[in-house]
């Protein structure tokens, strides 16, 4: 598998990373190196092996349906870049 410059630009855009055009060939090469390394894993025969979802052989822990958190809007809003009343404020994003 080989990434072309257009795909690199698209991945960067989806991740909201701004790229200079000059960076694209270099990044394409680096990403291709990583993909090539991962492709080696295809050589391992995993027929009949269930996918491993984590290092711990245990199921998800669950908690009771009790309100134990919240009611701390000052703390939640403390790092807001901008606020109005008790709202976060961001540049307008609307359809």
């Amino acid at each position: 598998m080989s990434l072309d410059p257009a795909t690199v630009r698209r991945i960067a855009r989806l991740a909201r990373i701004r790229l200079d055009e000059a960076e694209v060939p270099q990044l394409a090469q680096e990403l291709n190196g990583i993909l090539g390394w991962i492709e080696q894993l295809n050589e391992v025969d995993v027929a009949g092996v269930a996918p491993l979802t984590g290092g711990a052989q245990m199921a998800l822990k669950m908690r009771a349906d009790i309100v134990t958190d919240g009611d701390m809007h000052e703390a939640v809003l403390a790092n807001a870049p901008e606020r109005a009343g008790d709202y976060f404020v961001v540049p307008k994003v609307v359809e």
Partner: protein, 485 residues
């Protein structure tokens, strides 16, 4: 008969699939301990998990899982004892983590069915593809400032069930019937309140059109339609648009659109073009969700009687027609009210009173069945007074209106207003004699063969008796005086 829309070049069929987002009823959120109640002041019900502060870890709420399982069971669906959570990545200001925790490849609930009821009384099974659990996003307010959006994260992290149907629906009306039925089931189960105007149930509508006998053509998704009426309108508007595109030689592109109710048309959401690449991957913060078979079985045992079963029981035990039974079970509160009135009484008469007089009174007074001015016990009391002959059916209507207005019970109103039925033969005899004497001309016409006048005489006698005459005795007396020897 298949629903079609007539285009310039002939009829087109419409194919619809619905994705419904139903907010789970729970005290706390899906992965945090913050509260879920609607309408709190902004950002009060937000934990550091919901606001995606660095290092915070999600812990799943058992009740939200139980609600999803109950819903799956109520949709006759298979429960997957092992499911998994994935991250769905996109950037939006009301999604602080930059991803939504959802279930992509391994949902908690698999295929099921919903039986929808159509206008002609028939039912049709609509396939359910899957149900999965995911987080809701926060709320953006765009109308508070000319260049800024305000964000409230109270809703962020509340549990949602996304319920996906097969593309089995074939008309706007079927889409409406599906949503109504789904909402009824969710309300019976107590897993979602189904309030579309508060946003706790929202629908994405997938629409395509085709010629009879064809396979599926390209579909478009109309996002976030927030009432059943708008779903019906959006399906029709979007189908008409696609027909125009195909008929003018164009090609429908798969895209996300919005319905604009003011203009009655859909428009493209261009900004979503890139967003469809969500780059799902398993959430490394969450282990697989593994359910115990016995726990699922216990949830199944505790399910309430669901609308289809209740409807069948009402038809069987109370002898109700399918339509009446369907109306009565549409809301659980109505079904409970009806059962209370019907128990030990004339069940069909009880159904007529609930569907007719009671519903009309609720409509007129703007009340719901839960706040009805006439309780089930009180309506039952009224029916008892009719059954034992204390009042006649005509007076019962007046007594009922008085019950609605005053909140008093039927027996009190009958006593206070002297509405007891008159069964005294002498009083009826006298009223009949008076009416016949005052209408000698009509009596002559009747005897000359104008049978229809009998109703006139009954009406006059009842009027003379202020409506309180026993109808059977009034009829018999008139018959005897007019027809008999």
């Amino acid at each position: 008969m298949t629903y079609t829309i007539e285009g310039a070049t002939g009829p087109w069929e419409v194919v619809i699939g619905l994705e419904v987002h139903a907010q789970v009823i729970s005290n706390a959120k899906l992965f945090s301990g913050a509260a879920t109640t609607f309408g709190a002041a902004p950002n009060r019900q937000v934990s550091f998990v919901d606001a995606a502060f660095p290092g915070m870890l999600p812990v799943i709420n058992r009740e939200c899982v139980a609600q999803a399982v109950r819903t799956g069971l109520g949709l006759n669906a298979g429960i997957n004892l092992v499911s998994r959570f994935d991250r769905k990545n996109y950037f939006y200001a009301d999604l602080p983590a930059g991803y939504q925790i959802s279930q992509y490849q391994h949902p908690i609930v698999g295929t099921g069915t919903i039986a929808i009821e159509l206008a002609d009384g028939s039912t049709r099974d609509i396939g359910i593809t899957r149900l999965h659990l995911e987080q809701d996003a926060g709320k953006s307010l765009h109308d508070q400032h000319p260049t800024k959006s305000y964000i409230d994260l109270n809703r962020a992290g509340v549990a949602l069930m996304e319920i996906v149907s097969e593309p089995d629906l074939r008309s706007p009306e079927e889409a409406g019937a599906y949503l109504r039925k789904l909402r009824t089931i969710l309300r019976y189960l107590g897993t979602c309140d189904g309030n579309m105007d508060e946003g706790s149930m929202r629908a994405d509508v997938n629409v395509s059109v085709r010629r009879a006998g064809e396979g599926f053509r390209t579909r478009c998704e109309v996002k976030n339609v927030n009432s059943i009426r708008f779903v019906i309108q959006a399906v029709e508007a979007e189908a008409r648009r696609q027909i125009e595109v195909w008929e003018s030689g164009g090609t429908v592109e798969q895209e996300t659109r919005l319905y604009d109710p003011a203009r009655g048309e859909t428009r493209s959401m261009r900004s979503k073009e890139e967003a469809h690449d969500y780059r799902y991957f398993p959430d490394p913060d969450l282990l697989p969700l593994v359910l115990d078979e016995a726990w699922v079985a216990a949830l199944r045992r505790d399910l309430p009687e669901l609308p289809d079963a209740k409807r069948a029981r009402f038809m069987r035990d109370f002898g109700l027609p399918a339509y009446d039974a369907g109306v009565l079970v549409a809301e659980q509160a109505t079904a409970d009210y009806y059962e209370h009135v019907a128990r030990g009484r004339d069940a069909r008469l009880a159904a007529n009173w609930v569907i007719g007089d009671l519903f009309a009174a609720l409509n007129r007074t703007g009340r719901s069945i839960a706040t009805s001015p006439v309780s089930a016990a009180a309506l039952g009391g009224l029916l008892d007074l009719m059954a034992d002959g204390t009042i006649n059916g005509r007076i019962a209507k007046d007594v009922f209106e008085a019950m609605v207005d005053t909140g008093a019970d039927a027996a009190t109103i009958v006593e206070q207003r002297g509405l007891r039925q008159v069964t005294d033969g002498g009083a009826i005899e006298a009223a009949v004699a008076g009416v016949l004497a005052n209408n000698a001309d009509k009596v002559a016409e009747y005897k000359a063969g104008k049978d229809k006048l009998f109703g006139f005489f009954v009406g006059q006698v009842m009027k003379a008796m202020a409506g309180k005459g026993n109808p059977a005795l009034v009829n018999a007396t008139l018959r005897r005086r007019l027809d008999g020897g």
